[in-house]
């Protein structure tokens, strides 16, 4: 059995483990109670959810992301890289069927993702708040994903790196449900609850999505 096949099988087994573990966690969370909201709605819950997953995620929608635009865009770039990396890994047996331009695009996205991941890790050490907030789990999670993205990018550029991609992918799949990376499934719950909240209560109106002072005002 070649190293490529061995690592590919390892990645497949780890992927099955990750899917199973995430499914169990999803079901466990879904079993937690969620009370029906009996207060009469003032606004539209659907609009709130739509906002939470669309305009509400835009860099200009929040003061925090306007203030930390580069950090936010870094995070977005990192996560785009992750999606590209996972997709590339899943379709890796069929790479030879794909046009070279597509492979190059994936290589670029994952390389950028890896660079953004590395930058994120540097920020975790360099920035006082992040340094204090971070646990070994945070560092391990970022580094694991970064290594996977770098290996995937390299594999897309040269097949010799494919075992490295499968191996790092296997490690990532094994660790993801156990550590901080599992926040990925809770993202959807969190934005959904936030959207329902602001929608039902009409906190975000279609006409007043951003706050615009009507006349003279200072800077807060």
């Amino acid at each position: 059995m070649t190293l490529l096949i061995l690592t590919r099988l390892l990645a497949l087994a780890a992927l099955i483990f990750a899917v199973a573990a995430f499914t169990l966690r999803w079901r466990a969370t879904m079993r937690r109670p969620l009370a029906l909201d009996r207060s009469p709605a003032k606004g539209d819950p659907k609009s709130g959810v739509l906002y939470a997953f669309s305009l509400g995620m835009m860099p200009w929608a929040k003061e925090s992301t306007r203030r930390h635009l580069l950090a936010y865009l870094r995070g977005i770039g990192f996560h785009v890289g992750i999606f590209a990396g996972l997709l590339a890994l899943l379709v890796s047996p069929f790479w030879s069927w794909l046009p070279q331009a597509v492979l190059l695009a994936f290589a670029a996205l994952t390389a950028l993702g890896a660079a953004f991941g590395l930058a994120g890790e540097v920020m975790r050490w360099a920035e006082r708040n992040l340094r204090r907030l971070s646990t070994p789990d945070d560092h391990a999670s970022v580094l694991l994903v970064t290594a996977f993205l770098a290996a995937t990018s390299a594999a897309l550029a040269h097949p010799a790196w494919m075992p490295a991609m499968y191996l790092s992918g296997a490690l990532l799949f094994l660790y993801a449900p156990l550590g901080k990376i599992r926040h990925c499934i809770y993202f959807f719950f969190s934005r959904l609850f936030f959207g329902l909240f602001i929608g039902r209560r009409a906190v975000v109106h279609p006409r007043s999505v951003t706050s615009r002072p009507s006349s003279v005002a200072g800077r807060g």
């Binding site: 003061e63 992301t65 706050s211 009507s214």
Partner: protein, 449 residues
């Protein structure tokens, strides 16, 4: 494990629903929430970030619920809850977070840190680690609800005197201030003090509302404790009163947490949709203006006025444009703070903090961003639709020498009211008096501040 810690953990388990588990799991510790918090802005230290506050509870949650944390607690920052950690958690939740939700709105994930802090408050209350004064205030309100006859006569006596004042203010001997009148359309629930009764009474009279007064107060200290059982008992007084009287609407005094509690949370505590509508006084005034039932003269309020969005009214309650429409009709020079509406800074007095003297210094320090905002508007008066915000802003004005007055929305509306003819005057008018009567002078001496 001590019994206090055991109780706290049991309360955490009981509260662990889908939104709370999500809040405990979803944070990526990116730290982007830091500057969204007024505590952090006033004192920029890592422990004042909302993420750090959440982590304090997450550490205990992980120690109980996370596989990896049980094997390698240091790897994930998990820590078993003990007496000292519980005390620290309680202190954080009651004095370093006003539950304003500004961090949630600024988080790319939407992490609900206030939900976690409320869970901690509930844990601390059950374990006997909550501030005593809040527990006493909540329990006193519950006792009052059990036997209202004890104070009812005194209250009725006070209202009889106040009715005379109302008649004098509106120049109409027919003006009535009834208490718990069955069949009225609107039940108005005030706060402690006639300053939250007389201005609304004038407005209701002028708008020809069919209203009556509750003998209870809208404030709900159970909410600050995170204690749903107590909060429900306090709300029950008003809910039962409204049902017994058969009112169609409950109008709440200008009070942020009371509004959030009765409007948005109480139906869930009781597991029913109430047979009456719950609105804030500000929403009601806005309706009257829309229906043409109030005639306001903005030149009565000439000073520059700005509006402070109470977090419970705006970010939590969705009452955002109503006070602005009212103020634009009632004042001449209205200016906004920046940021405002859902992005407004908390004044620092929310979450029951104004009732806790032991945290006064911390509270006033945390109000620095709000004080700066107010100063930059150049306003001479700050209006807030929340009693706790008004108390805090009044103290901020003193501490930071802002040179401002603080007012409720209703007070300014009363100052701007053009009174309609009394019944006697109207009869003269309809009897063929040729010249229409001019609008009468606005009521004098209505309190502002």
């Amino acid at each position: 494990m001590t019994s206090g810690v055991e109780t706290a953990l049991q309360v955490l388990e009981k509260q662990l629903n889908r939104p709370l588990e999500t809040a405990l799991e979803v944070c990526a510790r990116c730290g982007i929430c830091a500057e969204a918090c007024h505590y952090y802005l006033a004192e920029p230290a890592p422990e004042h970030t909302p993420a750090a506050r959440g982590e304090a509870l997450r550490a205990a949650y992980r120690a109980e619920h996370d596989f990896l944390s049980r094997i390698f607690p240091r790897w994930t920052g998990a820590k078993k809850l003990d007496e000292a950690t519980l005390a620290k958690l309680a202190e954080t939740a009651f004095s370093r977070c006003t539950l304003c939700r500004r961090c949630t709105f600024n988080c790319p994930m939407g992490v609900d840190t206030p939900l976690m802090m409320r869970a901690v408050r509930a844990m601390a209350t059950a374990a006997g680690a909550a501030p005593e004064i809040l527990v006493m205030l909540a329990d006193a309100a519950i006792e009052k609800g059990k036997d209202p006859s004890f104070f009812r006569d005194l209250f009725l006596e006070q209202m009889t005197d106040l009715e005379k004042e109302l008649q004098a203010k509106v120049g109409d001997p027919q003006a009535r201030l009834t208490v718990q009148r069955a069949g009225a359309k609107v039940l108005y629930v005030p706060l402690a003090g006639v300053h939250t009764i007389l201005p609304p009474a004038i407005i209701f009279h002028v708008a020809r509302e069919d209203w009556t007064l509750s003998i209870f107060e809208a404030a709900n200290y159970g909410v600050f404790l995170g204690d749903t059982a107590r909060a429900k008992e306090i709300a029950r007084r008003i809910v039962d009163e409204a049902k017994q009287l058969g009112v169609r609407e409950v109008v709440l005094a200008e009070c942020g947490h009371a509004y959030a509690a009765l409007r948005w949370e109480a139906p869930n505590w009781f597991g029913e949709t109430f047979p009456f509508r719950v609105v804030s006084l500000v929403e009601k005034i806005d309706e009257y203006l829309e229906q043409g039932r109030l005639d306001l003269d903005p030149s009565s309020n000439r000073e520059r006025i700005t509006y402070h969005d109470s977090c419970n009214m705006a970010r939590t309650g969705g009452v955002i444009e109503e006070p602005r429409r009212v103020l634009r009709a009632a004042v001449r020079d209205f200016v906004e703070m920046t940021p405002n509406r859902k992005d407004a800074y908390c004044c620092g007095g929310g979450g029951g903090l104004v009732a806790l003297p032991e945290y006064q210094e911390r509270r006033l320090k945390a109000g620095a961003p709000k004080a700066r905002q107010i100063r930059e508007t150049g306003a001479q008066m700050v209006v807030a639709a929340c009693e706790n915000c008004r108390l805090q802003i009044g103290e901020l004005a003193h501490r930071y020498e802002l040179g401002i007055e603080v007012s409720a929305v209703a007070d300014l509306v009363v100052r701007a009211l053009r009174l309609p003819p009394t019944r006697h005057e109207a009869e003269r008018l309809f009897a063929g008096v040729e010249e229409p009567l001019p609008a009468r002078k606005r009521p004098e001496g209505t309190a502002v501040g």
